[in-house]
Amino acid sequence: MRLGMVIDLDRCIGCRSCAVACKAHNAQPPGTWWNRVFTPGSEEHQVAVGTNGHLQMNFLPVSCQMCDNAPCEKVCPAGATYTDERGVVLVDYERCIGCRYCIAACPYGVRQFNWEDPHQAKERVGYQEGYEYGYPGDYRDQDGRLVYTPNRPLGVVEKCTFCVQYTSKGEQPACVRACPSKARIFGDLDDPDSEVSRLIQERQAFRLKEELGTSPKVFYLPPTKPSR
């Protein structure tokens, strides 16, 4: 099994619901976003690109691309970043030493660093005392590696895990469930009959910065209307 995701940019309406669901379910502290949605070509989201009436506006959600050939994993001196048996690139929060080599190595800018204790960061928002959001349990892989915990320790790196706490149980990632446009499809790239495999076949899927050889498992379908 190689888990992957297809994001249909024709269907994507740029609503950022996926980013917000990701943030909530994965208990990201203020300022941290594992998943972002951009308007390519524009600094500002949802601003047209072009001149003289020749305008366009497309949207691009970006989170960890789950590279098969992950530069972040290669540079990690502590073995904290690894690829699990389903092809998901994860960070063991107990092993991460906070050197941030991976942040420098990742060509997609999706890794985030806990500069501050997340409890403190959340406290600044002023939530009701004792309130904590996000999936409330820890998740350890079969080898006992801590790959999800609602409050990541100060000084570790974090990023999208394909919602390991959910997908390990056969549920969908939070962003996929949240997308009101059903633009995100999650599944097994090894299975030729899966919807992800089928869409990649049929719809001229592409990957970000393909030329780098990172071989991501997140595929994008072009933002043009599909030919019928």
Binding site: M1, I13, N58, Y127, E132, E171
Partner: protein, 856 residues
């Protein structure tokens, strides 16, 4: 380092998943969605899923599940349990981050009573007992001194919560207070609907968009304002419908369209009339449809511009049994015919064109023409080259679009709020409605004209809960509060004006037209008492005398049924009320008891608030009429239930019965009685010719294009013609539902905490404004500061502000300090609350823009 790999084959994986009870179908090769929570394995948190409904004032009504652990909502996921898979999942970024409001720092904890000067936001904490006693005492004093109608009640829109809003309305009804209908208060009432079809408003349900072959969107940004339904637009297009967006600005919706047609601001009527002219001149219209369903065959007297009545004509008479709110008019097919207003049956050889002479009872002979002939004549001037001048559409494009629209069936027009929230918004709607009507695209699947702004409608009869003992209610359109009474107003103006305000579910001190005027009314003591129910400390709370802490929609039991989404749903209590918050039904009941012990009886006094809410739901379901017949509370507890309609499959297709079964126009608009709305279209037909005196006087008997500002801004102050060249447009952002979520920490992170104003780059250059500059948008009424975004898709001479920001993010300014409460006289011809009433023209507002100083 050695990695021990445990490989699970796909088969094994699926088996394991199925064994855990988590694999229940959504189709597709890998169905992952969990329908029932799995048994908690050792060390796994114990989660409870509570199905409820997100229902702020956006019409979304998205089914949600709160994931609850230890009495706290940890996250929110879409319920995705609508029977039609196309509707799953509904939801958006705001609904999914609601926990920031529920548990956020602005949450009200205890009742507050003002301690400082009015409007200064200084309070002392009080017990419920103290706050309620004080409020009831003040309200009694004011009612005794000025009359109960001097107390106004803002409750915002009913469909978002029938129980609790109903409770407040019921209290106002019992106490004789004035109610402000949200639909006209919010400027959402598109007046062309009652004028043309005799209804409040109608719309196709979004699932029906998939059946269209052509979708023409005028001034609606569905990709921002209807997030849960926007995908239907993309899908319709992918299924082969042509999607054309007419808008002065390039929007995300334009980004998904086959074609974006840039038009000048407020020129939609010219476009509509230009398209209609081509359709008529090229005979692309559906003649039988026009003869059967519209007023086009009805004859109009040329001497006085009035429709010819059967009772005036020699040899004709009014048939028996015609209700008094109807009128019998005349058509011609080699003889003059009385046209029965309750029967949509005319011989198909009636004439639509020409001029005739008719002898009246008194022997006088007058010339008459069919409405269609008059329309045709009045459209003569809207030639493609004139429309090009007015609207900026190239001539050949206009002609091509008209031909395309006439050829495509079903054709659906979306008539958006940015198009109609102008002084002459009604004329635009009447002009655009010509296109689907001329082409027979009404009452059919995937066809028609729809408005998707404003949660205006109640879906069931609510009188038993909202109107105790059928008592008469006082309704006062909000615009009069700001503008003052007018000579022609049909609503009752309270003798002493408005002296007190009770507000819930809204934030009028930021959000309403001329919010600054409302603030002054408090500061000057004109409004002697303001009580606000809310779960957060909004700007409006700051201007209140008493703040009553209510609860969010995750903390109470409620019934939801909004217009755009065809399901009836419950809000179920996911968590207990936080702090000392109380549901509004409880607050209304406590106030009722203090005002008059008799009043309390209506609110199930022996039950706690949740049980009372359930009783109210049962009462409304039992007495709600055909749309909810047979629907029970138990059913709703299990999941959403489709509202019933006359259309096969209970689909929501406006005027289906009128077209399929030839029932007269209008269908009922609940809660109005048919005699109230049928008077708008006395002929029982779709009316394009309006012969009320005022319509004739103003030259609006037929739809025409009138330029913006002439009868509004320039009439009010001629000097602004040269001073202010920009239109001030306030649109919705994806980050807020009006002002709800303005303080949502994540939403603000997504916007870098910056309120923004969108400008055309050329305009900005001329003003010396660069991207990110701090600019001021101002006129002689008010001003607003925001960061400039230079958008090549913005039209010329517009300043577009994304509305909804609380004042505290705007240096204390309200973005609604620039607007003005213009009242268009034709909106006062009749008065039915929220159906024919003057309403705010947000976009009819001139301004200028300049680079501001360094203060931020």
């Amino acid at each position: 380092m050695e990695k021990r790999k445990i490989k699970l084959s796909r088969r094994q994986f699926l088996q394991a998943a199925a064994a855990a009870g988590v694999l229940a179908g959504t189709g597709g090769a890998m169905a992952f969605v969990r329908q029932t929570p799995a048994r908690a394995a050792a060390g796994e948190p114990e989660l409870k899923y509570v199905r409820t409904t997100c229902s702020p004032n956006c019409t979304g009504a998205c089914g949600m599940k709160a994931i609850v652990e230890n009495g706290q909502i940890k996250a929110i996921v879409q319920a995705a349990d609508y029977p039609e898979p196309e509707y799953n999942p509904r939801g958006c970024l705001k609904g999914l981050s609601m926990l920031n409001l529920i548990y956020g720092p602005d949450r009200l904890k205890k009742p507050l009573v003002r301690s400082g000067q009015p409007g200064k936001g200084e309070f002392k904490e009080a017990s419920w007992q103290e706050a309620l006693d004080y409020s009831a005492g003040r309200l009694k004093e004011i009612a005794d001194k000025y009359g109960p109608e001097s107390i106004g009640v803002i409750f915002q829109v009913g469909g978002t919560g029938y129980v609790h809003k109903g409770a407040v309305i019921a209290l106002a009804t019992l106490a004789g207070w004035s109610l402000h209908h949200p639909y006209d208060q919010n400027g959402d009432l598109p007046m062309f609907w009652p004028m043309t079809f005799g209804v409040q408003t109608e719309e196709l349900e979004p699932l029906e968009w998939l059946n269209s072959r052509y979708v023409a969107v005028f001034g609606s940004n569905i990709l921002a304002t209807r997030l849960p339904d926007a995908h239907f637009l993309v899908e319709a297009r992918n299924r082969g419908a042509k999607l054309v967006v007419f808008d002065p600005n390039y929007s995300p919706t334009a980004g998904k369209a086959d074609e974006w047609v840039q038009i000048n601001p407020s020129s939609d009527a010219a476009v509509g009339l230009g398209l209609a002219r081509v359709i008529i001149e090229e005979k692309l219209y559906d003649e039988d449809f026009l003869k059967t369903y519209t007023d086009f065959p009805l004859l109009v007297r040329l001497d006085n511009g009035k429709r010819l009545k059967a009772e005036e004509v020699k040899g004709l008479s009014k048939p028996d049994g015609v209700p008094s709110y109807r009128e019998v008019y005349v058509a011609y097919n080699r003889q003059f015919l009385s046209v029965h207003p309750e029967k949509l049956e005319l011989p198909l050889d009636v004439v639509l064109e020409g001029e005739l002479e008719v002898e009246l009872k008194d022997g006088q002979k007058v010339s008459v023409k069919p409405g269609f002939q008059l329309l045709r004549e009045s459209l003569k001037e809207y030639t493609p080259d004139k429309v090009e001048k007015l609207a900026g559409i190239p001539q050949d494009k206009l002609v091509r679009l008209a031909r395309e629209m006439a050829a495509a069936k079903p054709l659906h027009l979306v008539y958006g709020a940015s198009n109609y929230q102008w002084y002459h918004g009604d004329l635009k709607g009447r002009a655009l409605a010509l296109i689907p009507v001329l082409t027979g695209n009404i009452g059919k699947s995937g066809a028609g004209i729809s408005t998707y702004a404003g949660q205006y409608r109640v879906r069931l009869k609510v009188a038993q809960w909202w109107v105790p003992q059928g008592k008469k209610q006082n309704w006062l359109p909000w615009l009069y509060v700001l503008h003052g009474p007018t000579k022609n107003m049909k609503a009752n103006w309270p003798k002493h004006g408005l002296k007190a305000l009770i507000t819930g579910w809204g934030n009028p001190f930021d959000q309403h037209n001329m919010a600054n005027k409302l603030r002054q009314m408090v500061e000057k003591g004109e409004l002697e008492f303001v009580a606000t129910m809310d779960f957060q400390m909004t700007t409006s709370c700051q201007y209140s005398d008493v703040v009553l802490p209510a609860v969010s929609w995750y903390e109470k039991t409620e019934l939801v049924g909004s217009p755009v989404h065809p399901y009836l749903q419950l809000q179920q209590q996911a968590i207990k009320p936080l702090y000392e918050g109380k549901p509004e039904l409880w607050i209304a009941r406590e106030l009722a008891r203090r005002l008059n012990p008799e009043f309390e009886k209506h609110f199930f006094p022996d039950l706690d608030a949740e049980a009372a809410a359930e009783k109210a739901i049962e009462l409304m379901l039992r007495t709600g009429g055909p749309s909810v017949e047979g629907i029970t509370l138990e059913q709703l507890k299990k999941g959403p239930v489709r509202v019933k309609s006359e259309v096969p499959g209970n689909r929501q297709i406006p005027f289906y019965e009128q077209i399929a079964h030839k029932k007269p126009f209008p269908p009922v608009s609940i809660p109005a009685k048919i005699e109230q709305t049928a008077q708008f279209v006395k002929s029982g037909r779709i009316e394009f010719y309006k012969d009320e005196d005022l319509m004739l006087q103003l030259g609006e008997a037929l739809p025409v294009h009138k330029p913006p500002f002439e009868e509004s801004e320039y009439a009010l102050d001629p000097t602004v013609r040269d001073k202010y060249k920009f239109s001030y447009i306030t649109r919705n952002a994806i980050y807020r539902v009006h002002s709800t979520h303005s303080n949502n920490v994540w939403m603000n992170e997504l916007q870098d905490g910056k309120p923004r104003v969108w400008l055309n780059p050329q305009d900005a250059e001329e003003k010396g404004i660069k991207e990110g500059d701090w600019v001021e948008v101002y006129n002689n009424r008010g001003s607003l500061h925001a960061f400039a975004v230079l958008d090549p898709g913005a039209g010329r001479n517009v300043a577009v502000f994304e509305q909804g920001w609380w004042s505290r993010y705007l240096n204390g300014e309200s973005f609604n300090s620039l607007t003005y409460p213009f009242i268009k006289p034709t909106h006062e011809i009749y008065f039915v609350p929220g159906m024919w009433a003057p309403n705010t023209a947000w976009n009819e507002c001139l301004c200028d823009v300049r680079k501001a100083g360094d203060t931020k």
